[in-house]
Symmetry: C2
Subunit: 421 residues, 2 copies
């Protein structure tokens, strides 16, 4: 029996096959995400991986259903595996916002699911670090969030040579759109602005001709758009964010880049994306302001400004591998307890247990095994020490690197061992 296409199996390292993923690397990434969030005062939350379908269509419209793992459950409810975390966050915050001081700074590490029929071979799930700030309109919140994004990437050893945050503004584009539209007397129907934003979003991947045609149909000139992008003049809001980040010593990680606009309809202010410096990979992370979403999801009951970003595990992992920043995780054991004399198995079991209680990661032969095989196993496990009972009272401790050996009392072993973790 096979796993479903687009899903991943996570195995312990060393990995048995190129087709599977490392559970150890995944946990390493999750730990770094959690640790950086902790330093920034972001608190963890989580919601159900399964939600009512309506939660997602309310935010994104009925057209999202084609990309969802949705079904009708045995209680006749229309439900869906979550394709993103923000609707759940908005639902949760709206339900209990009065109990939390503003701004709310929360993070989560959900697994997200998208069923895209056409994309064979592409993943249908990934894990995503989501960090959000709710209840603060000031750009200081945007700066705090972007600083978290930068330090999260730095926590993996990535530097300003490896990645850049491209900072942009829906407000700036909004103003551009409204001023030019009036001048050009272009289309003014409800969809025109959304289509314009989509055209900008796709410019970097489209040909000049395609962009020119699309923009012209909406009443805009490509030259005009390009001129605005190339000017790169920060709005007052962006300027304030840049200065805030500069005060923290993080200015070099950010540049204003109006190519970025984020396709999704719900962004309302500052938007940004993290890219690797060479441009080989898809975006590492993306986010921005969505000041109207909580109100929408709560049916008008709660109105909270909000902003957030998402960082997936897949592109991050590719980038860390490419930059040789991902360790091997194939040797987590500290100690191998050798049992040479089966008469000493009982006190050896006691020793194994005492060392584990003392915090060491300890392996030993569950059943009788030839000494050379035990030695080989210790070698494979890359333990720091082997420990062998010489009698019920004394043990021989060997440093596996230096090959130094010492003899110690059976109750005094822990003090002589090196710890890996």
């Amino acid at each position: 029996m096979e796993r479903l296409p687009g899903f991943r199996d996570f195995y312990p390292e060393p990995l048995p096959h190129a087709d599977v993923w490392s559970a150890d690397a995944r946990q390493f990434i999750f730990n770094r995400w959690r640790e950086t969030a902790r330093r920034y005062g972001f608190r963890e939350y989580d919601g159900p991986p399964l939600e009512s379908l309506e939660l997602f269509t309310t935010k994104s419209g009925a057209e999202i259903v084609g990309q969802l793992y949705n079904f009708v459950d045995k209680g006749e409810r229309a439900v869906s595996l979550r394709p993103e975390m923000t609707p759940t966050l908005a639902r949760m915050v709206a339900a209990h916002e009065r109990n939390y001081k503003k701004p709310v700074k929360w993070f989560a590490i959900p697994q997200l699911f998208r069923y895209e029929r056409q994309q064979k071979g592409r993943l249908r799930e990934h894990f995503q670090f989501n960090a959000d700030i709710l209840g603060e309109r000031d750009p200081a919140a945007d700066a705090e969030l972007i600083a978290l994004l930068i330090d999260t990437l730095r926590s993996f050893g990535l530097t300003a040579h490896d990645f850049v945050i491209r900072l942009s503004s829906r407000n700036a584009w909004q103003e551009f759109y409204e001023v030019r539209r009036r001048k050009a007397e272009g289309r003014s129907d409800a969809n025109a602005q959304y289509e314009f934003f989509q055209a900008i979003d796709k410019m970097e991947r489209a040909t000049l001709e395609e962009s020119e045609k699309k923009l012209a149909a909406l009443g805009f000139s490509l030259a005009d758009v390009n001129h605005f992008i190339e000017s790169g003049k920060p709005t007052a809001e962006l300027e304030s964010i840049l200065q805030n980040l500069a005060a923290r010593g993080l200015r070099e990680f950010v540049r204003v880049d109006y190519h970025v606009i984020r396709g999704l309809a719900y962004y309302t202010g500052v938007v940004f994306e993290a890219f690797d410096a060479t441009g080989e990979f898809r975006a590492i992370a993306g986010g921005g302001r969505y000041d109207n979403l909580v109100k929408l999801i709560s049916g008008g009951k709660v109105d909270l400004p909000a902003l957030g970003f998402g960082m997936g595990d897949v592109v991050l992992l590719e980038l860390l591998k490419a930059r040789s920043l991902l360790s091997k995780f194939d040797s987590p054991m500290d100690v191998y307890v050798v049992i040479e004399d089966e008469n000493l198995r009982r006190p050896s079991l006691k020793l194994v247990h005492d060392l584990r209680v003392a915090g060491f990661a300890v392996e030993f032969p569950l059943t009788p095994l030839k000494p050379d095989k035990q030695f080989k196993r210790a070698q494979e496990l890359k333990v720091a020490n082997t420990v062998r009972m010489e009698s019920a009272d004394y043990v021989r401790i060997r440093d596996f690197k230096t090959r130094d050996e010492i003899v110690a009392g059976a109750n005094d072993v822990a003090n002589h061992l090196s710890r890996k973790s």
Copy 2:
């Protein structure tokens, strides 16, 4: 919009409502599970939360479908959210077992899903610590696994006064069944043994009359069954496990109890359950040998003896709360940086960032805030220290418990601060 019935929202502490769960307590439990597994040399794995329906019906028969979150996906595949981890483990191990040394010692912390229509108000998902050993027939593997179970519970502060492992044996019951059936010339159809095991499994929750009736229908006498249970005589296999655990100093946590038989059809040898000592709660954990499952799931390709246990987060959490062993997790911040003079905001931002880079969890007012409100916020956050810039070069550090204050150079703050974590 509401979450689906039977699913949980996890919030940061302090919790806003009795109806929601603590994301912090969840992470605390996961950390302990991981940490104990690490000391025992168990490696982490994970599979997809969505699998082909066939994986689960192959193991448990078509009747399990009534309890599943199953549906047909957009590619016409019959799929299901996982109700348990063992079939995925068997699939994964069978696919790549040649790349791993035996015994394989693996763990996972999956979220599991069951749609049980009749049980209103009951949870439809939970998290479960799964630990398994594959590739070792000797009872030494059973002892190693049970030792892990015991030390996992002990890592939460639970003692031999709080819980007990009830150890039993399918083999012993199998022998009982075969010997008595021959004597009594009872039913010998294929289902009879399964029904007998089910009757034993339900005895503790059924009335005497119910059990008597059920057993009689299968050709057994209740008195005979009770006599076997009360004898409590360990088989040679159980005796070997008890001695192994005794050598580790863990004998007091285990007792032979033939009431335990585990309802599931796939167990083949030793079985066990962890219960709280007072019997107020449902089982904390349960497991046993399932030597035939890998062969079944792999279609006969791989034959590996195996054993494992599962420990859910819900009963464990109830027990830890009842025994006052669960901390509050409402004050994870180390430092609050007070900004009294807005002219010092820029160097204060630098200080915030430096301290975060040094590993401290730091909060500060994102926007101008009256000093008394900042002090109140620091108090709510239960920080160890506040830090306030006196000038661009000097800061005043206050110990929030002792109220002692010192003045330090702006680049020397980290050395004067207390860490919570």
